[in-house]
């Protein structure tokens, strides 16, 4: 079945598909081995990691997610390492490392290891693994304003040189992180993942031949590219722009941070221009250029090939990304990067907003765009020990689309297969008690298709503790599209001495002490609506009211639907109401 043409072999469609499934299986197995050997739960529960295979040039062959927003982080890191050592500087048995924020584009917790895979003496691929370490030193929980306060920085180095571990490096790490046995445990898990990738990829090379496999990889990339180009071509040519803003950086409270995105579509190519996002900020909400690329790639992937083509270099050949240095998604030293993941989600949301003008049927209204994690620490009354606790991520509303309502209470764009934490689990571990974990009525943006509802977690402290919340998008609630309305924004309220404080200027508190009986509530925003609310079928509005998703008042005031006492639609009154405001 192999048709050997002159020069490099041209693997046929069957071998190409076998290799496509094969490289996916390799990265899935890397992922399995990482999650099952990792020590900290951010890796195996929140899936804050990414594993992948890369060509000898550093191009993405296959990625195992992980973290959807880290789509680009490893390719850039592999390329940086390759540039640093050169092909000649790499030997079998090497493992390269860095956590340089300005290379990975994210925070220092993302230790990234890379293993060059040699087949019969030839550099044939790289296996790479990023995973979030629980602690990398630096200020505990508080506000940071530069990278030096955020922890240990490791430049590009060889963790292992021709099979020999760099013990000096290990000792430096051990002295600089708070729970070294865990950090080093995660390091071992990452190495296991890399070796799994190496072994399984070499099996493919042995089985099918090096040139055949690399040829198949080229075919796979070409297929991804062809699909992406085809779907890009069907988008009308033009320049599309959208803007939004972030609340603030936690330092200059109330100072809005503008996010402008410009998309130029011509033929089968797309350019995403992010030069219009804000200059980097003082608080730790910055991310590096890698994440700037990542934002553009995530938006592009969502529009062109969300499920049917794997992530590889070919998927993005027809995408051009324009960045200028020193913005919140291209930050340069010494910008603080600890909360790197929050702003990029809104950049993606804004890019999808720009696509409204071009392909409304393929895009989506805005979502809550924040993880909404509440973290707290204190001394547990049960055993007198210090603990670091968290409530896990909170699900918010996703935007409506041209054909359906948005999803309720779902994790934000930064995360994918991340799970929340059961209340029963959190209460058994930490001295807190949930009053409610509920959907927020009326939080979904009104529209022909309604935005999804956000959710609320209301918690009471059962002992003295310090709480930190770093939530944004309070003041820029998830917008609607095509006449749909915005959902409710994110929100934080505190209950102190029995009094609820719900007029905080933002949703950010850093290490605030509270006592037993005090509490806090995290409210995740609702998704934006799609299309004018008056076009929503009255029966659907009645259904929403019956379920309590929408109040009777909102049904009347916003949707123009009058319900009778039984909850059914009063057709006549509804028609009048809708005519009047038309």
């Amino acid at each position: 079945m192999k048709s050997k043409k002159a020069g490099k072999p041209q693997p046929d469609a069957v071998l190409t598909e076998i290799i496509r499934n094969g490289v996916l299986a390799v990265t899935e197995e890397m992922k399995t081995n990482l999650t099952r050997t990792a020590y900290n739960m951010i890796i195996y529960e929140a899936l804050d990691f990414t594993v992948g295979l890369y060509t000898p040039e550093g191009e993405t062959i296959s990625i195992g997610l992980g973290l959807p927003m880290f789509i680009r982080g490893m390719a850039e890191t592999v390329k940086a390492k390759l540039a640093h050592f050169g092909v000649k500087g790499l030997r079998p048995g090497d493992i390269l490392v860095t956590n340089d924020s300005y290379i990975t584009g994210s925070h220092l917790n993302h230790f990234t290891f890379t293993l060059p895979i040699f087949h019969e003496g030839k550099l044939s691929a790289f296996a790479c693994c990023m995973a979030h370490w629980m602690d990398v030193g630096g200020v505990l929980g508080g506000l940071t304003t530069d990278i030096y306060s955020e922890g240990l920085q490791i430049p590009i180095l060889k963790y292992q040189d021709a099979g020999v571990v760099n013990q000096d490096l290990v000792d430096i790490i051990a002295m600089n992180v708070r729970v070294p046995e865990r950090g080093l445990g995660d390091l071992r898990a990452q190495i296991t993942a890399l070796k799994t990738g190496e072994r399984r990829f070499l099996e493919l090379l042995d089985r099918y031949g090096r040139e055949e496999v690399l040829g198949a990889v080229r075919n796979i990339m070409d297929q991804s590219e062809a699909a992406a180009r085809g779907r890009t071509r069907s988008i009308p040519d033009g320049t599309y722009e959208a803007e939004s803003f972030m609340d603030d950086d936690g330092v200059d409270i109330g100072k809005r941070i503008p996010i402008n995105v410009r998309i130029i579509k011509a033929g089968d190519e797309m350019t995403i221009d992010l030069t219009g996002v804000s200059a980097q900020v003082r608080g730790g909400f910055n991310s590096g250029a890698t994440t700037g690329y990542g934002c553009a790639q995530v938006a592009y992937k969502c529009i062109t090939s969300p499920t049917d083509y794997p992530i590889n270099e070919g998927s993005f050949r027809a995408l051009k990304v324009v960045l200028s240095p020193g913005t919140v998604v291209t930050a340069v030293r010494p910008a603080a990067m600890r909360v790197w993941m929050t702003f990029p989600m809104t950049v993606v949301d804004t890019a999808l907003k720009a696509m409204e003008q071009a392909v409304p049927e393929r895009t989506i209204a805005a979502h809550h765009a924040d993880l909404l994690v509440g973290i707290f620490n204190g001394v547990a009354p049960a055993d007198g020990r210090f603990y670091l606790g968290d409530l896990g991520p909170t699900g918010g509303g996703w935007g409506a689309k041209h054909n359906e309502d948005g999803m309720c209470a779902t994790v934000c764009m930064n995360d994918g297969d991340t799970h929340n934490s059961p209340c029963e689990q959190v209460e058994a571990k930490y001295p807190v008690l949930f009053k409610r974990h509920a959907l927020r009525d009326d939080s979904g943006g009104a529209g022909r298709h309604r935005g999804g509802l956000g959710s609320e977690k209301a918690v009471i402290a059962r002992a003295r503790m310090n709480i930190s919340v770093r939530v944004d998008r309070v003041h820029c609630p998830p917008w609607g599209l095509q006449g749909g309305m915005a959902g409710m924004g994110n929100k934080l309220t505190l209950t102190l001495d029995g009094k609820e404080i719900d007029d905080l200027p933002n949703a950010k508190v850093y290490g605030r002490p509270i006592k037993a009986g005090d509490g806090w509530s995290l409210f995740a925003g609702g998704g934006g609506g799609f299309g004018p609310p008056h076009e929503r079928a009255a029966a659907k509005v009645a259904h929403d009211v019956r379920q309590g998703y929408v109040s009777r008042q909102a049904a009347h005031d916003i949707y123009g639907v009058e319900l009778n006492e039984q909850g059914g639609v009063d057709e006549y009154a509804t028609r009048r109401l809708r005519l009047k405001s038309a």
Binding site: M1, T32, T37, A227, H419, C423, R436, R546
Partner: protein, 699 residues
């Protein structure tokens, strides 16, 4: 059983009936003759018992002769997946009625803007809250306000609610509130099917427990009617024995118990197959095997490790992305979306894809001639000669080779510029590698190496692909059991009565209160023994399994550690910790002997061991298969040889113990065909199993 029943001399068969989507399979073991009788009938969805009766008749036996009627059915899972259950309400703790809708908030398809979440079986308007609250320590933070329960009951009475599910927070630690609410609801709504979560799962995780109890209530009325209907029917047909149902663990429970804890029988069919594979392993002296069941739309794999079936404490029903979890013990069955009906296509970018779309039973593969136009895995098998056009289902169904060739030519061969044979071979190779990756993934997750396992293949399509899959994985032994198309019914005959209990009990191992732990175990075990007694069956012996879910302090995921009861009696913390470290090492490749550990949940399994029928032996023959087994040759393409060769075919039913056949060859039987690839060496064992030494793959 014979001891307790005076009419035992007449009751000499054990009947097992497995209802699947397409077929109802019956296996009967006749204790008098030592023979296994088999019957296969089309399933009769409108009145399932008809199919069973036809199958029993086809097997040549009667209900009146049976001491046991064992049953597995898709009724529970179908009621859930097709959402045809009862009008159900949920009663839950104030502030938490949306937990069931919020779920775990994950988005598995990370870049899909059109992703969909799970859809609850009970809409929000039918989820009611009552005033009460337990803490994680099991103390009443807010006492139960019975007036609030009555207020909800007033509403339910007006809404024609057929079933009520009750979930209160932390009831696993203290079920008093749930028990009281249940009593009130039963009194107020005497006709409703009422289910409280602590009766099914005393394990933490409120979403999963809610989903479990709601599923039970939702399917309860229909499943209990179904079981009652079968019971009436077989009793009126002269059945005088015990009616037992297969649970998702592969264990049995009495039909009255199945009418209450319906959710325990969700995966009864697949579980029974894995139990059958375990029985085969015991008989053949095998420790480790992968049980591989491939049918029309999916392939399923279960794992037998050191002679025991691997189980899991929860399963996701309805596919990962939109799953409704069920938090009860189950055989750990992994499903792959590749079956005989998987569709092959060349997509817009020129890539050749196989599945996950399936042609289903209707219209089915192109070769079925029922209107299917798209090429499938079955069509590829036919075109390559692996399936015989006039041998399918014993010749009862003719396959259309021309239609298969046409579909493959138009949709695959032509766009790719290859011939039909190469296209068909490519479809099979892609399907094979996809399934082998999936089987490898199941074992990797468990820290096991699939290559060292034997493969036991059954289901209609399993034996067609098993040798190729075994080669791909590097497995050396493949076993195709006798009657692979009846294997799930066969497996039921080797099952035991089984009752599983779990109770979450968070405690650091260092401060574990052993007296209390022993009391909890005693409670679970006496409950299990009571359930066993109420089944009316006297097992040959009762065994009790103890296990504990543990994790290192700070971790989220616990692992289940099997423990002997003596370590608790000895209050031996060190030994418990050591066991846990070992299990962690085996499963995850690392452990931390210096880290503190905590107990999350206690598990007990009470098993009533049943007398097993001996495997029926078949007649002995010589090395060469008898003349009657030869069914001529047909041209079959093998990629290993790069060409089609005249390949001998054999009638499985005519083979004798000791017969040997070298690949390439085809072994045909009523509902299945076993493909022997070049290099494979087959021998027929004394029980009629095909034991195949798998040839090495060429590269």
């Amino acid at each position: 059983m014979s001891k307790q029943n005076p009419s035992s001399l007449r009751l000499h068969t054990r009947l097992a009936a497995d209802i699947g989507g397409t077929f109802t399979d019956v296996a009967a073991f006749d204790e008098k003759t030592g023979r296994m009788l088999l019957g296969k009938a089309l399933s009769t969805p409108r009145n399932m018992v008809e199919g069973i009766s036809t199958g029993v008749a086809k097997a040549g036996t009667t209900y009146a002769e049976a001491s046991l009627f064992l049953h597995g059915s898709t009724v529970a899972i179908n009621t859930m997946l097709e959402r045809t259950g009862a009008k159900t309400a949920l009663i839950t703790t104030e502030g938490f009625r949306d937990v069931y809708e919020i779920g775990r908030i994950n988005r598995p398809d990370a870049y899909n803007l059109f992703f969909k979440k799970h859809v609850p079986l009970v809409e929000r308007a039918l989820r009611f809250e009552i005033k009460e609250r337990m803490t994680a320590e099991g103390e009443a933070y807010i006492p139960l306000d019975e007036a609030s329960v009555h207020a909800v009951c007033d509403k339910l009475a007006k809404l024609d609610i057929e079933a009520v599910a009750i979930l209160l927070l932390h009831c696993y630690r203290n079920p008093e509130h749930e028990q009281r609410v249940r009593a009130i609801v039963e009194k107020r709504l005497p006709k409703a099917f009422v289910s409280a979560s602590h009766e099914l799962s005393q394990e933490y995780r409120e979403f999963e427990r809610t989903s479990t109890v709601v599923a039970n209530a939702f399917i309860g009325p229909r499943v209990s009617r179904y079981i009652a209907g079968i019971n009436d029917h077989i009793r009126s047909s002269g059945f005088k024995g015990s009616f037992l149902v297969v649970q998702s663990t592969g264990g049995l429970y009495e039909s009255h118990q199945a009418q209450v804890q319906c959710v325990r029988m969700l995966e009864s069919g697949p579980a029974a197959g894995v139990i059958g594979a375990r029985a085969l392993c015991h008989e053949m002296g095998l420790g480790d095997a992968v049980a591989f069941d491939m049918g029309g739309t999916t392939a399923k794999a279960g794992v037998i490790y050191k002679g025991e079936v691997l189980t899991t404490g929860a399963a996701l029903i309805g596919g990962y992305n939109q799953a409704l979890p069920v938090q009860i013990a189950m055989v750990d069955v992994f499903e792959v979306g590749t079956g005989g009906g998987s569709i092959a296509l060349v997509d817009e970018s020129g890539a050749l894809r196989v599945g996950p779309q399936s042609s289903g039973a209707e219209p089915g593969p192109a070769c079925y001639g029922r209107g299917g136009q798209l090429p499938t895995v079955t069509d590829a098998n036919l075109v390559l000669g692996r399936l015989g056009a006039d041998r399918f289902l014993g010749g009862e169904m003719k396959l259309d080779v021309k239609a298969a060739e046409k579909a493959i030519y138009e949709h695959i061969a032509k766009p790719l510029g290859v011939d039909v044979i190469h296209a068909a071979d490519g479809i099979l190779r892609i399907a094979t590698t996809a399934m082998s990756y999936a089987v490898k993934a199941v074992s990797t997750e468990r820290g096991l190496d699939a290559a060292a396992f034997s493969l036991i293949a059954y289901g209609g399509a399993g034996p067609l692909h098993a040798s190729a899959i075994a080669r791909e994985i590097g497995q050396q032994t493949l076993i195709v059991p006798r009657a692979p198309g009846h294997f799930c019914a066969f497996g039921m005959l080797y099952s035991d009565l089984r009752y599983d209990y779990v109770k979450t009990w968070f405690t650091r191992l260092d401060d574990a209160p052993f007296a209390e732990i022993e009391k909890i175990y005693e409670g679970m075990i006496s409950e299990g023994k009571a359930a066993l007694a109420s089944s009316g069956i006297k097992p040959t012996r009762v065994t009790i399994g103890y296990a504990v879910d543990m994790r290192y302090v700070g971790q989220e995921h616990p692992v289940t550690v099997d423990l002997s009861p003596t370590v608790f009696k000895r209050r031996d913390r060190e030994s418990i910790k050591h066991h846990f470290d070992e299990v962690h090492q085996q499963r995850y490749g690392t452990c931390a002997p210096d880290e503190r550990a905590e107990i999350v949940s206690l598990r007990a399994t009470v098993t009533g061991v049943m007398k097993k029928p001996p495997l029926e032996k078949i007649a002995r023959g010589s090395k060469a298969p008898p003349a009657g087994a030869h069914r001529g040759k047909r041209s079959v393409y093998f990629a290993e040889l790069g060409k089609a060769v005249a390949t001998p075919t054999f009638a499985r039913d005519e083979l004798r113990a000791g017969n040997r056949i070298d690949g390439p060859a085809l072994i045909e039987e009523y509902a299945s065909t076993t493909v022997l690839l070049p290099g494979d060496k087959l021998r027929v064992d004394e029980f009629g199993n095909l034991v195949i030494e798998v040839g090495k793959r060429s590269k």
